[in-house]
Symmetry: C2
Subunit: 439 residues, 2 copies
């Protein structure tokens, strides 16, 4: 008995996937029962690292997802359409789906999982978040006994690479981005990465799994790293922090009757002693806090052909393993019952707290005409808005202006923003070049 795979896409991840499937030696013996049946590509003429007989390759992707011989459709083409439609058609034709497509799942997860549950098929997506790092399956299975409290991750390799290099080299964002583009670590249109959108897709998916509800992507607060300057990295370093783009999903309250979540992506000052502080370059890491497990962290390569393909093929094998066992139980409609840990059956949306309600520490940098008077003013104005300060430091002079860095204690973001609005009206304050949250 062989399980037949229809592969949609033969780019970086598709090629990596094919390479594993074609070289099963010293891997799990179940691999020998997986067979690539058909491969769908955009163009037949492109030179490729992996060769298939001409009759296996087609540009007619629809014919693959409707092919009665195909058991598992592997969608590694990326993009929203036609990926979404092809996955839905595959599901309607009773095929299981493995996808690496975070963008499509974060936006159309609802529709896709509803269809999959109705059809009694699995949609697995380990590769969609953090590349080769096992995190989706551990969240679904190994940590399923926990009440997850928080999930904090570095889930975008491009921005972590840029921030790490800014940190090491003291360079500014634009210079490092340009070099990262030249080296292939950043796309020519870097928007999805540097503006935090890719990380937002991923944290929406992780939050959905960790907290057992659906997430409305537009409710995920998202702020990128374009405004991070070499100066901020230096000052953060002096104060004992590194700056990381963190994706966070956590319960807003410890109460058992509250299901309000915070789900957000923003650059964050991370204390140097924190486990995430030492995750550098293109590496990803996800820290999960649960009751009763405590803190566990998963670390590894967050992207790339090999790591992502490792996750894709693991999902293929997991589906094959389930099919080997056979599925005996059906629901009232005769549809096979899905493994409740592996399927996504939650129907409700998680309520998400507005960013104004967030309680956090802040780092804020001011440029001011006259530091003596200003520090007193800042203290008074913050105090009026219930923002208590941990430290106020005049770092030095920049362009004849006093450069003042303030770190607050935990404050309500709304109060802090009101204080800033008032402070901006003060004559001596020339500008507020950066406002960052502190972990």
């Amino acid at each position: 008995m062989a399980f037949k795979v229809g592969l949609l896409g033969l780019g970086t991840v598709g090629t990596g996937t094919a390479e594993i499937l074609l070289h099963p030696a010293q891997r799990h013996p179940l691999l020998q029962e997986i067979e690539i049946h058909r491969v769908g590509v955009r163009s037949l003429d492109k030179p490729r690292r992996v060769q298939f007989p001409a009759e296996m390759i087609t540009t007619d992707l629809e014919s693959i997802v409707t092919d009665p011989a195909v058991d598992i459709v592997v969608e590694v083409m990326g993009g929203l359409e036609p990926a979404r439609s092809l996955m839905l058609t595959a599901i309607q034709h009773g095929k299981h789906v493995v996808t690496a497509n975070k963008a499509a799942i974060a936006r159309y997860g609802d529709e896709i999982f509803t269809a999959a549950n109705a059809a009694g098929v699995y949609v697995l997506l380990e590769a969609a978040v953090a590349g080769g790092i096992p995190v989706i399956e551990p969240l679904k299975q190994s940590l399923c006994s926990n009440r997850i409290q928080a999930l904090t991750g570095i889930v975008n390799g491009t921005t972590n690479y840029i921030l790490s290099r800014m940190q090491t080299e003291g360079s500014d964002f634009d210079a490092v981005l340009a070099d990262a583009q030249r080296l292939g670590y950043a796309e020519s249109d870097p928007t999805a990465d540097v503006d935090g959108l890719d990380a937002a897709d991923k944290i929406a998916i992780l939050a959905s799994l960790a907290f057992g509800g659906r997430i409305k992507l537009p409710e995920v607060y998202c702020e990128g790293i374009r405004k991070i300057s070499a100066a901020d990295i230096t000052y953060a370093e002096r104060l004992g922090f590194v700056i990381k783009l963190l994706a966070t999903a956590k319960r807003d309250s410890e109460e058992l009757d509250s299901d309000l979540l915070q789900v957000r992506v923003h650059p964050t000052l991370v204390p140097k002693t924190h486990p995430l502080a030492s995750v550098n370059g293109v590496y990803n890491a996800i820290l999960i806090e649960g009751d009763p497990v405590g803190q566990v962290m998963f670390f590894g390569p967050g992207a790339g052909s090999g790591p992502t393909a490792s996750a894709v093929v693991a999902d293929i094998l997991n589906i094959a393993a389930i099919l080997k066992v056979g599925r005996a139980a059906t629901d009232a409609n005769g549809t096979p019952i899905l493994d409740p840990l592996l399927s996504c059956s939650h129907q409700d949306y998680c309520p998400i707290a507005p960013i104004e309600a967030l309680v956090t520490r802040f780092y804020v940098r001011f440029l001011a005409k006259d530091s003596a008077g200003v520090i007193g003013y800042l203290g008074t104005c913050f105090g009026k808005h219930e923002v208590s300060l941990e430290s106020v430091v005049q770092i030095g002079m920049r362009d004849d202006l006093a450069e003042i860095v303030v770190i607050t204690h935990d404050v309500r973001e709304g109060n802090f923003r009101q204080a800033l609005t008032e402070i901006q009206t003060f004559d001596a304050i020339v500008s507020i070049p950066s406002v960052l949250r502190v972990l």
Copy 2:
């Protein structure tokens, strides 16, 4: 439909397990379908944190593993017997088993998995290695597409706690061990931990999963931390290393036709920049290197009631999830076919290379009468045995003797040992207080 658990043991882990099962709020909804049916204890009179009705508790453990109503036997009593016999009886009675018992699995895994395969039941053991850190299931499932090359872990919390404190405080082994015993971080008989036996059990289990073969426990090379001195920790630090008790399982060769493994536990000098170097205190971490995933690391609490119970209950839920799906396929004898990723079906033993064949760097400390002549002699004698040296440093004087630390390049352990034997005969060498491997 509820799944009925027979719980063997109500100590630290058993109590943690019961607490999760009795408090399902905000955890996976499948937990609500798990029911503790009976609890087996050694003594009925002990005061307990979790209360059960008298009719549920018994000292007759045999009656639990043969109880027709029990679906899943959870063995968290520890020890070799009667744990082994009870698991085997449970299996013979068609019950799935969840165990946290690394000692029993490392010794009797063969017998237990053979029986489980014949009976068509699962034996899951996430809690047996690294407490709450998901590592068994990720190895079986999320990384199953990889050819695992190496697995290196800090898998014993007690020794990591002792070494971390020796490092921070500059104290000697005996003093820290005594304090760790007082604080409950070390057992009154610390042998299994400090002599590396517990780590050896765990690496045998991990190696078996990672490399798909059985491991003969006596073939695992095992060296503990009793001989590590404050002096070695200081010198290692000066040279850029920390000392950790590492458990390692790796392929001895990159050749695809070789299945020879190294499986060993010993204190090791770890470069400070290595991800495992910053794993301190009772934390555990496992670094897995696979093709094509690269390096992934799992980090978290390696022991304790909550973390271990998290893993035990995850295994219970995983079995319940499989049973919900139903099992349709059977073999020729009518036995249900097991999920090939979750079961342990390998029959063959992995060949393990003798420690003499290991190629590694060494750290060795000599006390000598006369350093000038000695350094020349050491160089010559090591050279004769094909041991090339990375550095030779006279650290200082101790008890009127010159203290010399040598770090070698990669050498064959057998050659290195021969050189040491010869060096010991040299008059000026008074003693060789420590020999450690370097990562």
